[in-house]
Amino acid sequence: MNVKRQELERKIEEMEAALASMKQQLNRAVEEEQHESIEHLDEHLQEMEHKWENIREFWPIVVKEFRERFVAKK
């Protein structure tokens, strides 16, 4: 086996190991974020109580889009 090939194989192994380690770190970071988000579950439950306000917020946006698409063109 020539030296150049050995060198390339070694570099690939190192890069793969580094990539696996980075993937593991990313997974850990994502999971940490998920745990943090779950800690706010009670706030999300409270948001549910206000679901009718969502429609009130949504309606003017729909009306505006409707006017832009259909009324303004006339």
Binding site: Q34, L41, D42, H44, K51, N54, F58, V62
Partner: protein
């Protein structure tokens, strides 16, 4: 970890503020309130069963002849649940009606419709993200994935049920084995009847002298209203009691596979007694981008299984010969939802369809909000009624 959090509801809605008041106080008092409310739930299911039997007599089947068309039954279940926003309420009412003589075969499409109708709640919750483009796309897809899954369940299982009646047969076989013809005659062993029947008899006797039809009608109305109020209050109380436990369950599911997601969705739904609460919880989690659509998908499927607990609980209120039918429809609900998850989620091609459907509709809705409005109006109200018209035309 399982720190209790008392939730306060918006004071803008009368029932919400009453429910919030009810959700205050120490834990033991809340549990006592829940026990009282469960008792009221059992009484109201029994009230509906008794009232329907009294009002319809031997003509229960004729009274629901309009729903003998399975599509009509499906639409009744969908629209009723979308309007009430609680599949638990609708399935409990259906259990009561079956106990009163509504044929199980007619009730099955209604139960399937309740699954679709309940998904309106999380779709409304997702509208709260409308001002933030990417967040809205993720939230809307996390909400509508449940719709697509439930529609697929209906498309697969309703035709099979019409052709072979396999759910009705399996539910009947299971309920007969669970209750058994012998145990139904063991009145001394049944503790539900002496507890539930007295208030039902009392209400019935206060209307002595009135025609049976009127008495039955009033009993049904009273039962339906009570179930609606009771399930709303139980939901509020359980949310405040179980939020800590729900957090623990979700924490333990992080980083694990889909089976863990399905299991945690089931358990959280059993704890809060509301599938719409569970499926609405994942909307902000997915909306923020912290959880992917594929990660929240199994959790929403678990909600379908967990919600069956309410109908099973309601079925325990029914005693006597009709108990077997009440349990049968509750078991059909459970079988349908378990089979739905097993069949659709275990076949890779089918599993991907709700994901693709939800992503597609969310991509369109984020560019054109009229699509989101059209989707909600169409899915829960317009298409169901058009389907009735088409199926009636085909039947004619």
């Amino acid at each position: 970890m399982s720190k209790e959090t008392v939730l306060t509801a918006t004071p803008t809605h009368v029932s919400d503020s009453h429910a919030a008041e009810l959700a205050h106080g120490p834990s033991w008092l809340k549990w006592l309130k829940i026990a009282g409310l469960v008792y009221l739930l059992l009484v109201s299911v029994s009230l509906i069963g008794g009232g329907f039997k009294l009002a319809a007599g031997e003509h229960a089947k004729e009274l629901f002849a309009f729903a003998s068309n399975p599509v009509a039954g499906l639409v009744v279940g969908t629209v009723a649940t979308a309007l009430i926003q609680s599949s638990s309420t609708v399935t409990s009412i259906i259990v009561g009606l079956v106990a009163g003589g509504l044929p199980v075969g007619i009730a099955i499409p209604m139960i399937m419709g309740a699954n679709i109708g309940t998904t309106i709640t999380n779709t409304i919750v997702s509208l709260g993200h409308v001002r933030r483009g990417d967040e809205f796309r993720r939230a809307f897809s996390a909400a509508t994935i449940h719709d697509f899954f439930n529609i697929m369940c209906v498309l697969i299982f309703l035709p099979l049920e019409i052709m072979f009646g396999f759910l009705e047969k399996a539910g009947g076989w299971l309920s007969t084995h669970l209750i058994g013809a012998e145990s139904m005659s063991m009145k001394g062993m049944n503790f539900i009847k002496p507890v539930v029947k007295p208030p039902v008899k009392l209400i019935e006797s206060t209307m002595n002298g009135l025609p049976d039809m009127l008495t039955g009608g009033v009993m049904i109305l009273l039962g339906v209203l009570t179930i609606f109020v009771v399930i709303t209050f139980i939901g509020k109380l359980l949310k405040s009691l179980m939020v800590g436990k729900a957090k623990d369950i979700l924490h333990s599911a992080v980083g694990r596979g889909p089976i863990s997601g399905i299991t945690s969705g089931t358990v959280v739904t059993v704890l809060v007694q509301s599938s719409s609460t569970t499926t609405s919880l994942v909307v902000p989690l997915a909306g923020s981008g912290v959880f992917s659509l594929r990660q929240v998908y199994p959790f929403t499927l678990g909600a379908n299984i967990g919600t069956c607990i309410t109908a099973l609980l309601a079925a325990t209120a029914i005693v006597g010969p009709s108990a077997v039918f009440a349990l049968q429809i509750a078991l059909v609900h459970l079988l349908y939802n378990v089979l739905g998850v097993l069949v659709i989620y275990s076949i890779p091609f089918l599993r991907e369809l709700p994901i693709k459907g939800a992503e597609k509709i969310a991509d369109v809705a984020v560019r054109n909000k009229l699509v989101a409005l059209g989707y909600i109006a169409g899915m829960f109200f317009v298409i169901p009624f058009v389907m009735i018209g088409i199926s009636n035309l085909i039947a004619a």
